[in-house]
């Protein structure tokens, strides 16, 4: 058996598996924010390294698609490179680093700065799909809490943060209420990115391979970050512009530049940064 060369189906997954995934995705889209259990397959990356996102993308991707893969907002981080190469190898698909040219964007931990359109699908890699997990570790109990819309515990956590720190102390994977019904984890995107999900024209799909859950935010759905009336959700702000392209109002990476710990801020979204910097260069009079 092992003497023969091993060949894989287009998109790596067999067609039955793709069908199973699409059924799960349809259920997810029908119930925004609800975690649909699915029979997560093993794929050639380790669990925790994007297997959920990879399965969702593999179920959707076709020859007409253009794929962008980012990790921490950058196309060139090692895991993004690895996943992009995987899809080139198994699906022969075209790839891009430009957000505005992609039909499918698989991401880990960021939403691109460039606004999305109705033709685009975001696929998020999710490590922990259950927003209540660190408050209630039993799956049997959290399942019941979602079914009965019993979310008091989440607000208790926010209350305790304010009582202790004077602020809500969650900065990423900030819990949201989707379509006014389900409490959802938007994946470990910084809370800065949460507002981008609210009534977005794109389709947002979330895949947790290890925990075996799929969920979705359909286009133009209400996504509300939790807070209190007098302590509302506040996304973080960066005061300084990007040291390379001068953008403000975008999420920044802090780069340490010398032994003394001096640092500078640059755009986390490398595509946005490159294009903004290029546009500036064109504008500079010769």
């Amino acid at each position: 058996m092992t003497g023969e060369p091993i060949s894989y189906n287009t998109g790596y997954l067999d067609e039955q598996t793709k069908r199973m995934l699409r059924r799960a995705l349809l259920k997810a889209v029908a119930i925004p924010g609800f975690q649909v259990p699915f029979a997560s397959r093993e794929v050639p990356m380790p669990r925790g390294w994007g297997t959920g996102g990879v399965q969702v993308t593999a179920a959707l991707i076709g020859e007409d698609d253009v794929l962008k893969v980012i990790d921490q907002g950058a196309d060139d981080t090692t895991n993004a490179v690895s996943i992009r190469k995987f899809f080139v190898a198994v699906a022969g698909v075209a790839t891009t680093t430009r957000t505005d040219e992609a039909s499918i964007i698989q991401t880990r931990h960021r939403v691109p700065e460039t606004p999305l359109s109705e033709d685009q699908i975001m696929v998020y890699q999710v490590p922990g799909p259950e927003p209540l997990r660190f408050l209630e570790r039993r799956e049997t109990e959290t399942r019941r809490m979602h079914a009965l819309e019993d979310y008091g515990l989440m607000y208790v956590k926010l209350y305790e943060d304010i009582a202790t720190h004077g602020h809500i102390a969650t900065t990423y994977d900030y819990p949201v209420m989707v379509n006014g019904r389900y409490l959802m984890s938007p994946s470990p995107i910084p809370s800065f990115d949460n507002p981008k999900l609210h009534r977005s024209p794109a389709l947002h799909l979330f895949g947790a391979g290890r925990e075996k859950r799929i969920y979705a935010v359909p286009p133009y759905t209400d996504v509300e970050s939790l807070g209190f009336e007098d302590y509302p959700f506040e996304p973080q702000r960066f005061e300084d512009p990007c040291a390379i392209c001068g953008s403000v109002g975008v999420y920044m990476d802090e780069i340490i530049t010398d032994d003394a710990g001096s640092s500078m801020l640059v755009c986390s979204d490398t595509d946005h940064c490159e294009r903004t910097a290029a546009a500036k260069t064109e504008q500079v009079p010769a």
Binding site: T17, P37, R41, R47, Q72, H165, M264
Partner: protein, 372 residues
Amino acid sequence: MYVAVKGGEKAIANAHALLAKEGRGDSHLPPIDPSWAVGQLAVLVARVMNEGSLYDPELAARAILQAQGDALEAITLVRSFRTTLPRFGYTVPVDTAALPPQRRISATFKDLPGGQQLGATFDYTHRLFTERDTDGPQASPNGADGADAPAMPRVSDLLGHDALVQPARPEHFTDPEPPDLTREPIVFPMERAGRLQALARGDEGFLLSLAYSTQRGYGSTHPFAGEIRVGEVELEFEPPELGFAVPLGRVEVTECQMINQFKGNAATPAQFTRGYGLAFGRAERKAMAMSTVDRALRADEFGERRVAPAQDEEFVISHSDNVEATGFVEHLKLPHYVDFQAELGLVRQLRAEYQQRQELEGREEIDEEVLV
């Protein structure tokens, strides 16, 4: 002027090349052929088959070599391959008593029909480094053809005659088709069939520690090794088109039946209870640990309080899959700087506010002193 970091693609390519070089080792020595590993690393091969959930010794050996000896990496390779294979269905339930075993021992009786047969075991070796023997015994210890092998009925069947031990199947058992964990997501609470599947492919070390814990007071199942068998079993499959079973071949398995403290109450007479373990190849430690943990997880059936980690189904099953475990633990190596940045921002803000409060209080104290 700072230039954005690039070169991830090149870095990966270089890393793969370096990995291949490390894995080859000293190029003056011959590369290991997978067939050598099948024969001479059989126990490791068995582990990779068990936790990879695929019986293919040559493939498992190949995986071990490609993974440069990293068992979990090899298991991941096998799992990734397994997922691409078509699934035809289930075999007919395997009869582990049908073929004469290579090894069969029981701790519960001094002697029993068929006798105690040590087989190939490390059990009574002295753990001293020795020169490797090149040849084993010339004749196989018991006829591999089974011509004059003595009958070796299972201990559990012997005890079962007088209903001293719980029957293998509960009273109203309808024997439904077992679930396939690789095709359906796990939902708690689980049925025993699903749990046994999860345990069969669960990490040997994890199950070993859990089993150990039950012997040290974390839960108390007081097990006896009723029987441990190592030998081949015949696999048969019944295709719907034929309507009768056809043999597919033989696989080597290790089976362990743990017999545990008796239970009984006013309504039912006392009986010994069971734990079951089954693994590919020579995998005694795994089969024993699996059977101990199986019994611990059956707490509800016997009205036992779940007080120990080994009895906590969600805890045990959720953390038994080492491919998931190593994936998630090792994913911490991936960049997390965006979320770290967010935390940095908050910590800085909180510290600044703390400073402000301290200064404010300091000034208030001074004001009070002045007033006084």
